[in-house]
């Protein structure tokens, strides 16, 4: 007890006497904690909002969803249920909206609503009341972006398939899903009673039928869902409850914010490196005091604890300051992430996030400081009397291994706290470790090279400046790590974003098809082709599409397979592969976006019945391989097939790609629709062509790929912006570490400047020496960072996104230049004293 008291008392005294400049380094912890608290606090807000708003997101207590009209059995069940509970129906599909007044056309996502939906939450419209008035006539309520796209206004007539509606309002806010579901077109709402008039639910249309129920308070939606789920599974009906929706949404969102949290964690870990480098300098300065304490009877462990407690206290100061800043920063995040968060996030201080942030900051400070502070155990009390002999250095300290282990374990644990998985935590820690190791090795190697091969003929100021990078007790490697890592992170992010967008643009590049015509009925095909020819447009296709479902795999009926997956609970995605509707095609050749990886493609003209080629991920999900048998339900007719080959498909290409391709000779007589691709160069021509098509073939939809591409680009930019925002914190930490390192070697530098000037150097020369040093430090850090970013960017593009890599020279050079500039500016502004102070004044200070 008394020992603990002594340790605390000594730590407090040391803290009191700690040079103010060392507190700069607590700033590095503060920045990391700020980023972490901001993102975690936001995540908590998000989950609160999801919890509060989950019911309005679903709009009901329970929903049943199917890709086909509900079977009589399901309808009977719904009848029974709606006797005691209000119900509503929403039928969703896509179609072409056409405004005759402005001649504008656009693919839209239509929701045909019957009943007083939603039961919870509300759809706000402009003018108010448009939603309740929707059912009162042939009204259509549209997304505001549709008005812009079509040049339309309230009161205009819109035709949708064969039906006409009057625009009665726009949606201001409505609960919706995460992601980019509406990238395929703005949403519109119509009353369900006019649905048949549109004639858009013809053969081949992708329709989603959904029934919503508002249950009496005494009925548990989850219990109800669980009771009917097994029975509904074979009917291919999915049951959703608020609780499940909430869980799914939280899973998705916490993944997103978890990754952002990892980026924040990187800033904090870099702060840890700052703390470690400060500890090295500090312990070196305190070595005499430590020797005396040892003489006076303090054990090595006690001395270690004194300085560890001090480091912890400094980290605490930094963490509290950082947490305060983080609470402020948190208000920025909703704006950054707006657009793909489906709920209204109400910012509130999350004390849990603040506590975790402070705890994390202190932990990082302590585990990073522990390794350098262990050096106190090697300081012999004898050195209070005299310089030690070389043989007196004690053997390697086994505690160093313990400290290193604590460091690694903490990093993995903190990462796991962010992403919720040990595996990903370990991968993160490993990746950060490898990046740091590479930065460290590159910096070390370059310093060695400079020491050996610095040309004698170089001007003095350059040689002196560069020599400063490898003088005793230099902090070059730490600084390259601290500055370089931020730059590396930003560089890698930029490269990944650049290459993703490049790929999007490549596929949408000139001479590539940019308009997809789908839902063409067989009897329309000739007319559509003539239309294209008349307009002088290229025709790519037509590709036949046959909708089908799986009815059995290797003799096991799908109902049984579905029942199995629901029992084993092996994830819904697995059930989905049995339940979903497949839109398959048939052809005799392999297209450029696919590659056969197993088995053999059929020879052209070789009309063997029932052979299929299946996409490799689907094959894995269905657990089928070459020679396996799948029986399909094609509009009620069983079609038996055998897997003849497995393909790898590049889904990123805007081309009609298929999970299942049949050999010719099986599906030619099945009910089918056609897809045709074409290219219309100018946006205006695309508009007028779509309009002509909408007038002549109201059921044929056209998807403008350039619009889809724009929507995707916006999404990528948005995500990249959020990540980059978090990555900037790392760069800030790097700059702070630089300031801290300069401050801790300030006296030495000022003295050297004075000595140089005493020996006859002019102020200008001293200035140039300092400039040379920071210029080379900045160049070193940015060069290493850019090279590593290029490697990492290439690896991500090649292995994660399976695409080609291109290095944008100009932006990366700009990034490197910015890093050099930052280093030089921070370096010079902290070295004014070196140039300014009078030599005599400095030398007298000895």
């Amino acid at each position: 007890m008394s020992v603990a008291l002594f340790v605390l008392r000594m730590a407090a005294r040391e803290l009191r006497a700690t040079p103010r400049r060392l507190f700069l380094l607590t700033g590095t912890v503060a920045v990391g904690v700020a980023a972490l608290v901001a993102i975690n606090s936001y995540t908590d807000n998000l989950q609160d909002s999801v919890r509060q708003q989950a019911r309005s997101l679903l709009g009901a207590d329970l929903s049943l969803m199917s890709r086909q009209p509900f079977s009589p059995r399901v309808e009977a069940l719904l009848d029974t249920l709606s006797r005691s509970s209000p119900s509503a129906r929403v039928t969703s599909f896509s179609g072409m909206a056409y405004v005759p007044r402005t001649a504008g056309t656009r693919l839209v996502q239509v929701a045909a609503v019957a009943g007083r939906f939603p039961f919870y939450g509300q759809i706000r419209t402009e003018p108010r009341g448009a939603w309740t008035e929707l059912q009162a006539g042939r009204h259509i309520v549209v997304d505001p972006s549709l008005l812009t796209a079509l040049g339309a206004r309230l009161g205009d007539t819109v035709s949708l398939g064969e039906a006409r509606f009057v625009i009665s309002g726009t949606i201001q806010s409505a609960p919706s899903d995460v992601g980019f579901r509406f990238a395929f077109g703005p949403r519109v709402y119509i009353p369900a009673k006019y649905l048949p008039e549109t004639a858009l639910l013809g053969f081949g249309a992708r329709v989603q039928y959904e029934a919503f129920l508002k249950l009496p308070a005494r009925v548990s939606p989850q219990a109800l869902a669980d009771r009917y789920r097994a029975a509904l599974m074979p009917e291919r009906v999915r049951v959703r409850t608020v609780a499940e929706d909430q869980r799914n949404l939280n899973d998705v969102l916490s993944k997103l914010t978890g990754y952002l949290g990892l980026v924040a964690l990187i800033a904090l870990l870099l702060g840890g490196i700052g703390v470690a480098s400060a500890a090295v300098v500090f312990i070196r300065q305190r070595s005499e005091t430590i020797a005396v304490l040892r003489c006076l009877g303090t054990t090595a462990g006690q001395v270690f604890m004194i300085y560890l407690v001090e480091a912890g206290a400094m980290a605490l100061v930094g963490s509290v300051a950082g947490a305060l800043a983080g609470v402020g920063l948190q208000r920025l995040l909703p704006r950054l992430l707006a657009g793909f968060i489906p709920v209204d996030v109400i910012p509130a201080v999350s004390w849990g996030a603040v506590a975790i942030g402070i705890g994390t900051g202190v932990l990082v400070g302590v585990v990073f400081a522990a390794l350098p502070i262990l050096a106190v155990r090697r300081i012999s009390p004898l050195s209070a009397l005299r310089r030690p002999f070389e043989s007196e250095s004690p053997p390697r300290d086994p505690w160093r291994l313990v400290a290193a282990l604590a460091l690694v374990t903490s990093t993995v644990a903190l990462a796991r706290l962010q992403v919720g998985s040990w595996r990903q935590g370990a991968i993160f820690a490993g990746a950060v470790g490898v990046a740091l190791l590479l930065l460290w090795a590159a910096a070390w190697a370059l310093v060695q090279v400079m020491r050996r091969w610095l040309p004698e003929r170089w001007p003095y100021v350059w040689r002196q400046g560069l020599a400063n990078l490898h003088r005793p007790a230099n902090q070059t490697v730490t600084l390259v790590l601290a500055i370089g890592f931020g730059a590396f992170l930003l560089g890698t992010l930029y490269l990944v974003q650049y290459n993703l967008l490049r790929q999007l643009r490549l596929t949408g590049g000139p001479a590539r098809p940019n308009l997809v015509l789908f839902d063409i009925q067989p009897d329309q095909l000739g007319a559509v082709e003539r239309e294209l020819k008349a307009a002088g447009l290229p025709l790519i296709g037509p590709t036949p599409i046959v909708p089908m479902r799986i009815s059995s795999v290797n003799g096991r009926p799908v109902a049984k397979l579905l029942a199995d997956t629901s029992q084993t609970g092996e994830g819904r995605s697995n059930a989905w592969v049995y339940r979903r509707e497949y839109r398959s095609t048939y052809r005799d050749s392999v297209v450029p976006s696919e590659r056969v990886v197993q088995g053999k493609w059929w020879r052209p003209g070789d009309r063997g019945a029932g052979r299929i080629s299946i996409e490799q991920d689907l094959a894995r999900e269905l657990r089928v391989g070459l020679g396996d048998e799948i029986v399909w339900d094609v509009q009620g007719i069983p079609v038996t097939s055998k897997v003849a080959s497995v393909r790898e498909v590049d889904w990123a290409r805007f081309e009609p790609n298929f999970f299942v391709v049949f050999a010719p000779g099986t599906l030619e007589d099945a009910p089918r629709t056609f897809v045709t691709l074409t290219r219309v160069a100018s946006a205006a021509d695309r508009g007028s062509f779509q309009r002509r098509l909408a007038e002549r073939f109201p059921n044929v939809s056209t998807l403008d790929l350039s619009m889809l591409q724009e929507a995707l680009e916006r999404l990528v930019d948005r995500v990249a912006l959020a990540i980059r925002f978090m990555a900037l914190f790392s760069l800030m930490v790097g700059a702070l570490v630089l300031v801290g390192a300069l401050a801790s070697s300030r006296f030495q530098r000022v003295r050297e400047g004075a000595l140089l000037r005493t020996l006859g150097a002019t102020r200008g020369q001293v200035f140039r020496v300092v400039l040379a040093e920071y210029l080379s430090l900045g160049l070193l850090a940015s060069a290493v960072a850019v090279v590593l970013a290029a490697v990492a960017g290439w690896a991500v593009a090649r292995f994660l996104f399976d695409s080609t890599f291109s290095l944008p020279v100009l932006p990366m050079s700009a990034l490197a230049a910015a890093i050099v500039l930052l280093t030089v500016v921070v370096g010079l502004s902290n070295s004014r004293e070196v140039v300014r102070r009078a030599p005599l004044e400095v030398l007298r200070e000895e």
């Binding site: 002594f6 009877g297 054990t299 007196e392």
Partner: protein, 227 residues
């Protein structure tokens, strides 16, 4: 004769330096009774400081042994020796070695706090009073003169009532007059508290104040006034 407080038996110390073995101390044997005042005298490089380090348990001998209060130091671990130092040994250094970040008062308090003394503060004040620095307890070492710093160090050295106080050239960094007052103080404390003094110096006048003198040359005892 009472039992010896400090005993050195065939003490030798060899270091490796520049790739060769360098024997700094050879076969040192002597014992010292409680309350004694020993001066270890010799030119620089004669092994004085090394001997002091071994006697105070700061270092381990290559061969031979040191007994403090009948306990063999070589058998103790580094931490056990640290605890022993805290309880039974005091130090005064040539360069004072006050902890620059602590006030005079706190410097004196450290050994007392280390052993959990509840009266550390009043006891430290009393000791500072004793060395004539009553009103200066709140000053930092940098705010004190060399002589004042050494007096603080003396108060610290005696604060835990050690069995033995080791002083390494305690007047080396002081002018003659100040040095003399420091030695006066040491002798006074030695007398009043019964602490055994071991003084290392190359100053003959200083050594003359001791009751016993051991002279070292080339790591060997060449003269011992008690012999």
């Amino acid at each position: 004769m009472p039992e010896a407080v400090l005993q050195s038996q065939s003490l030798s110390r060899t270091y490796r330096s520049g790739g060769r073995d360098l024997t700094v101390l050879k076969d040192i044997t002597f014992s010292l009774e409680p309350g004694g005042f020993l001066a270890i005298l010799g030119p620089s490089g004669s092994g004085k400081t090394t001997l002091l380090g071994l006697l105070a348990g700061l270092d381990r001998p290559s061969t031979g042994s040191v007994y403090l209060d009948g306990q063999e130091l070589g058998l103790l671990s580094e931490d056990e020796r640290a605890r022993l130092r805290g309880e039974k040994i005091g130090f005064v250094f040539q360069a004072f070695q006050l902890i620059p970040t602590l006030t005079a008062q706190e410097n004196v308090q450290v050994p007392l706090e280390l052993r959990g003394d509840a009266n550390a503060a009043p006891r430290a004040r009393e000791l500072l009073e004793r060395v004539g620095l009553g009103g200066r307890g709140h000053h930092y070492p940098a705010q004190l003169s060399g002589g004042e710093q050494q007096r603080v160090a003396l108060a610290r050295g005696f604060s835990s009532r050690p069995r033995v106080l080791f002083a390494d050239e305690p007047t080396g960094n002081l002018d003659a007059a100040t040095g003399a007052t420091i030695i006066d103080l040491m002798v006074e404390l030695n007398r009043d508290l019964g602490t055994t003094l071991v003084l290392v110096t190359h100053d003959l006048d200083l050594a003359a104040r001791a009751r016993r003198t051991i002279r070292l040359a080339d790591g060997r005892v060449v003269a011992d006034t008690a012999a």
